[in-house]
């Protein structure tokens, strides 16, 4: 392919990618979220700059060079960067697909996408930390100087480009099966553990390697460039292979046994919606993952609360106890109605079906509280929690926290792709964000006020009373939420339709 043609195609594909992001159906409604994201990014950048300045000045008294201290720990930046990429970077497979039938060589297509991944602005984000740090610890020192600083920044950037290709490789594997996530975790963990246990070779090696950039040692640059080129070609082959597999994959249709769950029949129509809730968790990738994460959080928090001295006093004592009961609900209900967006027209064609659905969801999450309740019996018996405190926390969740979470049913209007392999990007509107924040922080604020004013036991009693009132009144507030849902129905249905995957 001629260079001019390659350049033209590169520009064309880049333009298409920019347009794909800009013309995403969620772009308009996402404006507030975008602004919020920019603010958060600015905050994160300030945070990094602050730490860069702080480490650059605080560590300056040490006997070793300041930059060497940070450089020896560079592996931790790589690990953090790697896991942050799960929220930011995707594989190019779905972007390459539309070009597959066009007269463009696949290798060239792959090269374009891989080069674009390497040149992404995201790979520069850590420079918010390293630039101020480098100025203080390298550029301003006469024996290093500006030239050393430039080499250092270039080296740091190359390291994160290498990390992005490493991430791409693992992410492609993880897309094949979630269990592959164990491999990068194990690899990084092994590196850190063995690097520490078997002497300090990891830190020493990292320090010398990074110092190579400052000293413009060609070996350091050659090593990282060779690694980048190697990862580039590994990814090129791997992605090409992966795309062929994607395109030629014959969907294996699993036989599913129809299950009656007749024990739920006694609950009438609500029982039918309870069956839907259970089947949704069992049969949809995204919901199953949410559920497992929620359940793991619940069990971990409960075990932490029950069997360790952590959070033994004050507000955190009550706070963590309440969130043992509420964790699963918080994780699953902030997306309430997202699943139902897939069949919202069907739901809305039947009288009060959304009300029955909300009731079923409420009862489902109340029943799920049995898991932490069973674990928390032990600390109640051993006296770590008073019975009043525990009952207060138990009842506060369905009576005061769930009502706030269910309000999201009025404002959530983004359909969840049920079979998506990874968690979808958030696409909240202003109202959704406000309610989401309120649902998290209002109960927390109330608890804080109660604990501060009344102490743990009395606060537990008040929470118990409030919780019982809220729980007993669930038909009332659910009906109220349903009424408001119906007021917003046209807007929500329209948005659910436009965000549906197919």
């Amino acid at each position: 392919m001629k260079l001019q043609q390659a350049h033209l195609l590169y520009r064309l594909i880049s333009k298409n990618q920019r347009l794909a992001e800009k013309r995403h159906p969620m772009f308009d409604k996402n404006r507030v979220m975008k602004v919020f994201t920019y603010i958060m990014a600015a905050f994160w950048a300030c945070y990094l700059i602050f730490f860069g300045c702080m480490f650059g000045s605080v560590l300056s008294d040490a006997s070793v060079e300041t930059c060497d201290i940070i450089n020896s720990c560079f592996i931790f930046f790589m690990i953090l960067d790697f896991f942050m990429r799960f929220a930011m970077q995707e594989t190019p497979a779905h972007e390459v697909k539309p070009y597959k039938l066009m007269p463009v060589p696949v290798n060239f297509l792959m090269d374009v996408f891989l080069v674009r991944i390497g040149l992404k602005v995201y790979n520069l984000i850590w420079l918010f930390f390293f630039v101020p740090f480098g100025i203080l610890s390298v550029a301003l020192l006469p024996y290093f100087g500006i030239w050393a600083f430039v080499g250092y920044m270039l080296g740091v950037w190359l390291m994160f480009v290498l990390n992005s290709y490493g991430y791409l490789f693992w992410r492609t594997l993880i897309n094949q099966h979630l269990l592959y996530i164990i491999l990068p975790i194990a690899a990084y963990a092994a590196l850190v553990v063995f690097g520490m246990i078997t002497g300090s070779w990891l830190f020493d090696g990292s320090m010398r390697f990074m110092r190579g950039f400052i000293d413009w040692n060609p070996l350091s640059f050659l090593a990282v460039l060779a690694a980048i080129v190697a990862m580039f070609f590994i990814n090129r082959w791997f992605q090409k292979h992966y795309i062929y597999r994607e395109l030629s994959r014959v969907e294996r249709v699993k036989k599913v046994k129809s299950t009656e769950m007749s024990y739920l029949n006694r609950f009438g129509v609500i029982g039918e919606y309870l069956k839907l809730e259970i089947k949704s968790v069992i049969r949809n990738n995204v919901i199953r993952k949410q559920y497992l994460i929620g359940l793991s959080c619940t069990v971990m928090l409960s075990l932490l609360c029950a069997f360790t001295p952590a959070y033994d006093s004050g507000f955190m004592h009550v706070f963590i106890c309440v969130y043992c009961f509420a964790a699963l609900g918080i994780i699953m209900l902030t997306n309430v109605m997202g699943v139902e967006g897939n069949y919202i027209d069907g739901l809305m064609s039947r009288k009060e079906s959304v009300l029955a659905l909300l009731k079923a969801k409420y009862y489902f999450h109340c029943v799920m509280m049995l898991v932490p309740a069973l674990i928390m019996i032990t600390p109640a018996v051993t006296g770590k929690f008073s019975v009043i405190e525990l009952l207060g926390c138990l009842m506060f969740t369905p009576g005061c926290i769930f009502p706030f979470l269910f309000i999201m049913a009025i404002y959530n209007n983004t359909t969840l792709d049920l079979m998506s392999k990874m968690t979808q990007r958030s696409s909240n509107t202003k109202a959704q964000m406000l309610v989401s924040f309120a649902s998290m922080f209002v109960p927390m604020g109330l608890m804080y006020a109660l604990v501060s004013l009344l102490g743990n036991n009395m606060a537990g009693l008040v929470m118990l009373v409030l919780g019982i009132i809220g729980t007993v009144c669930n038909p009332l507030w659910l009906k109220l939420i349903y009424k408001h849902f119906m007021i917003h129905r046209y807007e929500n249905m329209s948005s659910f339709r436009s965000t549906r995957a197919s």
Partner: protein, 253 residues
């Protein structure tokens, strides 16, 4: 099958999407027991009309009222009409992580249909489902487009609605299933006296089963035919041939 008599009244019903007028119907009545076919090219407003009638879309002006046994139900203001209405527009009606059997059972129960009646109702549509839907132990999302369509249509019929609304029901179906559905709808209308409204691009089937045909163009009902009109078929065919001719002339020019 006990059904009531349902007629439909559309009054000053319009819908705008931004600057585009998608639908504008001044007054239009569909009588109880009618089998009305809506025909028109893409973008004529057929699906928009169905969504407005079913309160799935907010009208810019006007209203849709279903009159059942003399009682009027404004579809945007109450939900009682949902009990005697069955509809299938697209896969947004299907709960795709259920098997068809589970979905039918769910629909039957939320519509208050006794469990023992479900099987007898399903038996009526055995020919239409042609052994590819029930008892297959596949999730709806794993069915072919045609079988999904069958699940949606049978689910809409499950509680024997007095008003049946189907958008492009012949889509995705193989020829045998299309013919089976044609007979199924005719039988259903004859046995229950239900009002049926279908939209379709398949003129042959639509003209075969419908007692009345409304022709939509750019959101307006430009012609309302009774089956007794001798020139109905010729006029409709001429209309569509004319639009093709018009487009080709336009292209040539």
């Amino acid at each position: 099958m006990k059904t009531c008599q349902v007629s439909v009244q559309l009054e000053h019903l319009s819908k705008r999407f931004g600057e585009t007028l998608a639908l504008d119907i001044d007054n239009f009545n569909i009588h109880a027991g009618d089998v009305l076919g809506l025909v028109g090219n893409n973008g004529a407003g057929k699906t928009t009309l169905f969504r407005l009638m079913l309160d799935l879309l907010q009208p810019t002006t006007g209203s849709a009222t279903f009159v059942a046994d003399g009682v009027g139900y404004h579809t945007a203001k109450c939900e009682d009409w949902k009990a005697f209405t069955g509809a299938y527009i697209d896969s947004g009606f299907l709960i795709d992580y259920l098997t068809p059997d589970e979905y039918f059972s769910f629909i039957a129960k939320v519509n208050g249909l006794p469990a023992d009646e479900v099987q007898s109702v399903l038996n009526r549509y055995t020919d239409f489902m042609s052994g590819e839907v029930v008892g297959q132990n596949k999730l709806i999302r794993n069915l072919s487009a045609g079988n999904k369509q069958k699940v949606g249509i049978v689910a809409a019929l499950l509680h024997s609605p007095s008003l049946l609304i189907l958008d492009e029901p012949f889509n995705f179906l193989d020829p045998s299933s299309q013919i089976a559905m044609k007979y199924m709808l005719e039988d259903y209308n004859r046995q229950t006296g239900a009002t049926i409204i279908v939209s379709s691009h398949n003129l042959t089937h639509t003209l075969d089963i419908c007692s009345r045909v409304a022709l939509l163009e750019h959101g307006h009902i430009i012609k309302d035919y009774q089956k007794s009109d001798t020139d109905m078929i010729a006029e409709i065919e001429n209309y569509f041939e004319g639009s093709v001719h018009h487009e080709s002339v336009g292209t040539t020019e």
